[in-house]
Amino acid sequence: MSVPEVATAPTWRHRVRSVPWQQLTPLLGLVLLVVIGALIHPSFLTSTNIFNVLTRSAFIGIIAVGATFVIIAGGIDLSVGSMAAFLAGAMIMFMNAIRGDVSPVGAILLGVALVVVGGLVAGALNGLAITRGRIEPFIVTLGTLGIFRSLVTYLANGGTISLDFALRGVYRPVFYGYFLGIPIPVWVFAAVALVGAVLLHRTRFGRYVRAIGSNAEVARYAAIRVERVRTLTYVIQGLCVAIAVVLYVPRLGSASGSTGILWELEAIAAVIIGGTALKGGSGHVWGTVVGAVMLSLIGNVLNLTSVISEYLNGAVQGLIIIGAVFLQRGRQGR
């Protein structure tokens, strides 16, 4: 969403008006949650807890950055959680298989390469089935959701695929390590969000994505190659899933049929909480980041208190999500 152009020299009043207040509303919910958390438990504001929440939100957050592109362009991708599980499983098996022939670092680098290529290919397959095959995105990705989920279960023989312990030691710092006092997953999350924001808000491609989402027909008349741009949004989504997997695997060193279950819903929720319209056309990456952090914060705050019965956690989560989006709707009317 571009800043309104101001013809005259910017006065104080113009500056205030040109601040996109409407877009800041997702922050309200976040600030509220932080205040509640700080009141609930003194340890909430410790750097350990803040970093726990941020690293946790990195998986969903990175995937949600990709989902922002897909959703703004008027699509949807339900397959991301299964895709993550499948890529994680394939990566672990591949690294275990080649560990005898190459150094541990080499095995990990090759594993990362495999995941990135795999993510790009999987995303392209989703995109092509939707654009070239002309099948509804909901159906295509519902189908691939099932396919990826069964594939990882098949690879795992119904159990769990575990990373070799020698490799685990070398790979571990990618999740547990720090750079300049901040956990590496947080850096990666920030970098992905930054690149995503620039791509969406500062490039021609980003404008095309939004144009297609608000009106695909008009975009087509404007000589935008709608099919190609749409396919590319799914490729970006696949790449984001791959990056999330590269961070996820060193955390527990394993993947199974239950890895990444419901991540697709969390990613979509993060995007919508962040102020992107589910019908497409408008939205912004940093809102998605706020949405993803909020989702992790809710779980964290609930775990830090015994006031709410554990039987009711889901209900509280649901209320907060609805409340957060309601806050935005109230503001948008003005």
Partner: protein
């Protein structure tokens, strides 16, 4: 069609004067391998199928996996319509929705064996094989009480909100409440590693002093262990899981101080049920009744007996 073909074959065989034993079909309906324990169930069912079919040439075993209760009800109908089963071994997804479908199987005169989750109405099944969830909770509690000398602070990570989880949790709490052990909090970790990791991270943030963790399940345990390592607090407490995952059993065998014991809830119970059901067709030994498998404490001394490196679980 299959039945008529089979009758034809039988008639032909009889006509030829061959001593030809009748073939029996046992249908096995189990949940799909969606997490570690059900993965173990699938593996054990496959093992039992191979062994039984090799041992008894007149037995044929058909295994169906379902990913929801309604899919399982459909599977049962298919087993009857397509495979014309003589016996059904079923590990129900959920008790209530599958009670009537299984009852109608029984009404057709098919032998029924129910595994793990009992049906909501009594007297349907011929054989019932199950683990003992309450015992699992009790055995875990006894160990923790014993280790802590009846006092200390613990946290509890629960499974998925189900009867199984409630039975374990209630039995555990019953014993704990009679001691000076304080349960700081309990939260659901859904028998899932990632959830175990996150819930434990938050427990560690919240409670500076924890003496023991009851994780109830080995998948959760693995997540808990990583959270403890990350916080460098793995020397402050011990973790009691449950089920009998091979990685955990290996740790117990090797004397890991963080996971000193495990409590068995064997996925192999499906194989027990299949073996017992098979006996009904190949012998005249009495088998009808209820079989409740123990949930023994697995310690370093006996861990080797419960270690199955080939199993996926």
């Amino acid at each position: 069609m299959f039945r008529s073909l089979r009758t034809l074959a039988l008639v032909a065989a009889l006509a030829a004067g061959a001593a030809f034993a009748q073939e029996y079909v046992i249908g096995v309906s189990i949940p799909a391998a969606t997490h570690g324990w059900t993965g173990g169930v699938n593996w054990w069912a496959e093992q039992a199928k191979q062994r039984l079919e090799a041992t008894y040439p007149n037995l044929r075993i058909v295994i169906n996996t379902a990913s929801s209760a309604s899919e399982q009800a459909d599977d049962i109908e298919d087993l009857i319509a397509i495979n014309d089963i003589d016996a059904l071994v079923i590990l129900p997804f959920e008790s209530d929705p599958l009670t009537e479908p299984v009852a109608s199987v029984k009404e057709r005169g098919i032998f029924v064996t129910v595994v793990d989750r009992g049906l909501s109405r009594e007297g349907i099944e011929d054989v019932y094989v199950a683990g003992n969830n309450a015992a699992m909770g009790r055995v875990s509690a006894e160990y923790i009480i014993d280790r802590l000398g009846g006092q200390g602070k613990i946290v509890v990570l629960r499974g998925i909100p189900t009867t199984i989880d409630n039975e374990r949790f209630d039995a555990f709490m019953e014993l704990i409440e009679q001691t000076d052990i304080e349960v700081l909090d309990s939260q659901y970790a859904n028998w899932n590693r990632d959830d175990g990791f996150e819930v434990m991270q938050d427990f560690l943030t919240r409670f500076p002093e924890i003496d023991a963790v009851w994780a109830q399940d080995d998948d959760i345990t693995l997540g808990v262990i990583e959270a403890l390592r990350q916080a460098n607090r793995e020397n402050e407490m011990f973790v009691v899981g449950g089920a009998g995952m091979k990685e955990i059993i290996k740790g117990v065998m090797d004397g890991d101080p963080l996971v000193p014991v495990d409590v068995l809830y064997p996925p192999g119970m499906i194989a027990t049920a299949m073996e017992i059901t098979a006996l009904n067709f190949v012998s005249s030994v009495p088998i009808l009744g209820r079989y409740i498998l123990d949930s023994p404490l697995i310690t370093q001394e006996n861990a080797a007996d419960y270690y199955f490196p080939d199993s996926p679980f």
